[in-house]
Symmetry: C2
Subunit: 417 residues, 2 copies
């Protein structure tokens, strides 16, 4: 590796991830397990929908000609119709509706033979002790009736492959009779943390030690991305140990390894990746933080991300690159442009010669616009200043400092609600 | 219940939910289980952070006075210093750095005694076969050094109660040594679906039957809200059966029951709720769809939502009201204003006398603005037209029709990634 290798622009790096990571394997699952996955095969509806001609509302099924005058206006005096029965949702009418007759009907219940319109209950009055009904307005033929198959006819494709399954798509699949669907498998993501200085969270760091927070952050990020984390623990700054751990990690779809990628003498990760025949597509990014970020693919098609050992730099690298790979593996359309315009509520320093990402707390105003308050943050070594951040203020290299009131682009980094 | 009872404005209804639903019980969990929950007690950091004075980058620890001239400019000729050792992250220096000396140091490693600045490796050249280093620029005292406790001193509160725990907060808690944290319990949500017309998804509907999609949609919505669904199945349109089911459901924190709330003769839910001593806060909302929506609380403090039997109306009611209750129970700050300005990419009809919600597909443009394409949708009886929706176009009652190019308010209803 050469320290002179040029820094990669973020959008080029994202493009390289998109190009080199392909959708993963698929699996058939029960409908409930399909939530937050991507459909790999279409869903067809096996029946007409609605499956029968039905009432849109609670009211009376009538013959429209009984309740209008010849000119289409309400009958005058108001029509009084004999009530010949009632139909609840789920029931089928015992008889039919003839001229001068009405049948009480509930929302969703099948229209009885003979009727061709439904008058809402609000536009009626009971008459003759409930044995009749006075209809206070006219009705068009077909009014408040939904014919069988109006929305979908049997055999139609109702969900396309590539659809992300949210609760609404669960509802569509359930209505279509799809008890099982084929979706993309949840990728497994190995998490390896390098560094002789790391101790567990339940230890008190002594001397030159610090706590291993990276493993916890990455575990959470992987779960937030609907993937399965596989924690492989801490590996010391030893070339053979790192190689063994990386080889083990390649049983997973993706490897995230933190530390060991800057220019220090003990940074073996890039060398080991080369030894294993991996192709390095991204080596250093023109970002601050997050410069020493590697994206590589192995001969067996695994994606490897080596992120900076600094937790915040690792977090930024995950959002910029790893999240794109995890979306691709799950068969998602390339993620939509995630930068949003926001008005600053405080100053942001000039970024210098690399694109900068600054933690911020962003919110929507009552007018539906975004505002962003930069957090008090001491730089990428400071994990505490990132607490409660839900956005990164993104500033292009070479920009001037920005101040309260300026419009900037932000990236939302977490679902807060 | 009176059919003349006035329709409730949505924002009043939301306010009633906020007022009558209080944060739930709390529980202590391992850090990993705290993701996507709300902190109920503060997290304190048990150590200084950083826990020792450390290097910000890879380079050489030096005495600043060795590498600058008296006027603070780089030493001329460039200083050549003896390399007296190296310190990796996790190691403590064996000796100290004296005048004319330098020690190679890695990012995050402790500053050796005697040194008071770090020069980045990029600004140096090896000399004397690596036994010495040529320093090409000057350095300020303290440069690229982070003193122990710069970010946090031991005992400081680093996460406040009420904080939503995303991956960043997991990182903060891990750094602070919090292996267990106290969070709000995940609420349990009973799901009951009423209707004699309902059959399971794996059945083919006959006669007046339709499939029970509501249970699946609600199950998914509850999971999306980080709560635990408890499916209690379908209950027929029978007063005693509905009462028994509602009583059983009140073991959960929240009950969502669909159907049985419009004005038909077979709609027993409001009556049963009154019998059980529940207070009805919201009975009908001035929304389209979603008018027959009930919010009630029981004498034992359970929140009950009776939603329309129509799946899409139930979906809208869940987003407008139930989601607010679930956030409150989980100790969340009142949800931020979730309406966003978007530019329409197609027409939306006039809403009439109730606030209307129309499914749409929304996306961010490269300029960071939202656009929304209304979906082809036949109205609230049509579950298929909602597929792939990620937003609802919200139009105030009495608005004129809106067209492509108009700015409207939208509500995002699902995370698409």
């Amino acid at each position: 590796m050469s320290p002179d290798r040029p820094l990669q622009d973020v959008s080029q790096a994202v493009e390289l991830v998109r190009r080199h990571v392909q959708p993963g394997a698929t699996v058939e699952v029960g409908l409930s397990d399909a939530l937050f996955r991507t459909l790999a095969e279409p869903v067809f509806c096996d029946v007409d929908y609605p499956p029968f001609t039905r009432s849109l509302l609670d009211g009376y099924a009538v013959q429209a000609s009984d309740v209008v005058s010849a000119d289409g206006a309400p009958a005058s005096p108001a029509a009084v119709l004999d009530v010949v029965g009632q139909i609840a949702a789920g029931a089928v009418a015992a008889g039919e509706v003839g001229p001068g007759q009405a049948m009480q009907i509930n929302t969703g219940a099948p229209i009885p033979p003979g009727a061709d319109a439904v008058v809402p209950v609000e536009d009626t009055q009971p008459a003759d002790d409930g044995r009749a009904v006075r209809v206070l307005r006219g009705a068009q033929k077909g009014e408040s009736i939904t014919a069988r198959g109006t929305y979908v006819t049997a055999g139609r494709e109702v969900l396309l492959p590539g659809t992300w399954i949210s609760p609404l798509e669960i509802g569509v699949a359930a209505t279509a009779g799809a008890t099982r669907v084929r979706v993309y498998r949840r990728p497994t993501v190995a998490i390896v943390v390098t560094g002789d200085e790391l101790v567990d969270v339940d230890q008190v760091p002594r001397g030159a030690q610090i706590r291993n927070s990276n493993e916890h952050i990455l575990d959470a990020l992987v779960r937030q991305s609907h993937c399965k984390p596989v924690r492989l623990g801490v590996v010391s700054d030893d070339r053979a140990a790192i190689r063994a751990k990386i080889e083990a990690a390649l049983a997973c779809d993706v490897l995230c390894i933190t530390g060991g990628v800057s220019m220090g003498e003990f940074d073996f990760v890039p060398e080991v990746l080369s030894e294993l025949g991996a192709t390095l597509h991204v080596h250093k990014m023109a970002t601050k933080p997050g410069r020493p970020t590697i994206f590589a693919t192995t001969p067996t098609g695994r994606a490897v991300f080596a992120l900076p050992g600094n937790p915040i730099s690792a977090f930024v690298g995950f959002h910029l690159l790893v999240s794109v790979a995890l979306a691709r593996l799950q068969g998602r359309q390339p993620a939509q442009h995630r930068e949003i315009v926001a008005t600053l509520r405080g100053p942001v320093p000039a970024p210098g010669d690399r694109r900068s990402f600054q933690p911020a707390r962003a919110w929507l105003t009552a007018q539906g616009r975004w505002e962003a308050e930069p957090l008090s943050w001491h730089g990428s070594g400071d994990p505490f200043g990132m607490a409660t951040a839900n956005a990164l203020v993104m500033r292009p290299a070479g920009s001037p400092p920005a101040d309260a009131g300026d419009e900037v682009m932000i990236i939302l980094v977490t679902h807060k609600g």
